[in-house]
């Protein structure tokens, strides 16, 4: 990189790249490694600071007076492992195949156009998954059917509310309320022998597992701020789903446990 324009473009690109990795649920160590790998391939020195909601990237050419800084807000692309895998692969393509900067940017933009998994596919697979979950916790076939139906309805509500751009905390609260209210039918009408397992399992598809796991990974690599932020986000969502579950039981007049 020979001039100031180039170095700024590189810093901007790296910041965009890192912000999308952070947004799609990559761990801090992966973001650091991938970004440095690409910066090295472009022939610049880089440093990255990962904050809970922002990414700061500085890039510096061979001549120390040529440097660029870019700050990006974390991309709101939601947890997306496909994007994570493809962005990670891009960093290796840049490093191993010595892709030039323009091609790397082009490929990056193409990766961002990747479509998420089909909503109906996710809806049914999640419902089957939660029903299987119920079986693992000792639920009988009736409980599994109740969990399947309540997950199907709750997850569809989640999809609709998220596409309407509602606040994610409200979405979790409403979806868990809806699922809990439906699965409470098992207890109200005495369906099957394990209705309490159906009720307990019906909201588990909402547990934000990725942020919890990433938080531990960040702690191992000493990214304490990000770890705390991810943990707090996940804890808030877990609290919302608990409130939804309890409200459902309260309104339906179920005996408190």
């Amino acid at each position: 990189m020979t001039n100031n324009t180039d170095i700024h473009e590189v810093a901007s690109f790296l910041a965009d790249y890192a912000s999308h990795l952070l947004g799609c649920g990559a761990t801090c160590i992966r973001i650091e490694k991938n970004t440095h790998r690409m910066a090295e391939a472009f022939g610049v020195e880089s440093d990255i600071s990962i904050m809970p909601t922002h990414i700061y990237v500085t890039a510096c050419g061979k001549d120390a007076s040529h440097n660029g800084v870019a700050i990006r807000k974390t991309a709101s692309c939601g947890i997306n492992f496909n994007l994570n895998a493809r962005l990670s692969r891009l960093s290796w393509e840049v490093a191993d195949n010595r892709l030039d900067f323009a091609t790397a940017v082009k490929r990056f933009n193409k990766i961002l156009e990747t479509k998420p998994t089909g909503k109906w596919e996710v809806l049914f697979l999640t419902s089957f998954a939660n029903a299987a979950f119920c079986r693992l916790f000792g639920g009988d076939p009736s409980a599994m059917l109740i969990v399947f139906i309540s997950t199907l309805a709750g997850y569809r509500l989640k999809q609709i509310m998220l596409s309407d751009r509602r606040d994610v905390r409200l979405v979790f609260l409403c979806a868990s309320f809806f699922s809990a209210a439906l699965s409470a039918g098992g207890q109200l009408f005495g369906i099957g022998s394990t209705p309490e397992i159906a009720l307990g399992t019906s909201v588990l598809y909402l547990i934000p597992g990725v942020p919890y796991i990433n938080a531990v990974s960040d702690i191992i690599y000493k990214h304490y701020l990000c770890a705390f932020s991810r943990f707090a986000d996940a804890a808030v969502l877990t609290a919302c789903l608990t409130v939804g579950l309890c409200t459902g039981m309260l309104i339906l007049g179920l005996k408190w446990f």
Binding site: D96, E121, V122, F137
Partner: protein, 164 residues
């Protein structure tokens, strides 16, 4: 008896695999990773099932979950490069079926029962249940996550070149 045990292990693995595929789809995991996630989940869950059986040592649920998660982590690191995905893409859906959902549910149950019962004896009973279920749940999750993350940390080079 041996047949019953095998059927139970198979059943446990099968439902864990179905759960893993479903939870993979929520996180937009690439389709080529579904089968790997399912197999790793089935292996992990079956390992936990077997080592927690009284005939096979009857290991405590926290230790058995940690060991099973460690196995999941190792398998994820080994298989990640085959499907060109980061290791965490494989182990996250595989870990989910081991989440102690019923302990979490019983913790909330005990918390609300605590708040609704002010008599000392009853309160103490529910507080005991709150602490028991809450601590068990927390340490299972912690053990699982640490157990699965350690292999990524141990085989750093292999883990971070999976997408190469």
């Amino acid at each position: 008896m041996c047949n019953d045990l095998l059927v139970n292990i198979f059943e446990d693995g099968l439902f864990a695999a179905i759960a893993a595929i479903g939870f993979s789809s929520i996180s937009n995991t690439p389709r080529r990773a579904y089968l790997t996630c399912a197999l790793i989940a089935a292996a992990g869950h079956s390992i936990r099932y077997v080592i927690s059986l009284p005939d096979f040592g009857g290991m405590n649920i926290i230790i058995s979950s940690t060991l099973a998660a460690f196995a999941i982590g190792i398998l994820a690191v080994l298989f990640a490069s085959r499907i060109k995905c980061p290791a965490e893409v494989c182990f996250f859906p595989a870990l989910l079926p081991m989440i102690p959902g019923m302990y979490a549910y019983r913790t909330v149950e005990a918390l609300i029962s605590c708040l609704c019962n002010t008599q000392e004896e009853t309160f103490r009973h529910y507080f005991y249940l709150l602490a028991y279920n809450g601590l068990t749940c927390t340490f299972i999750v912690l053990g699982m996550v640490v157990g699965a993350t350690i292999p990524v940390f141990m085989f750093k080079k292999l883990s971070f070149t999976a997408t190469r």
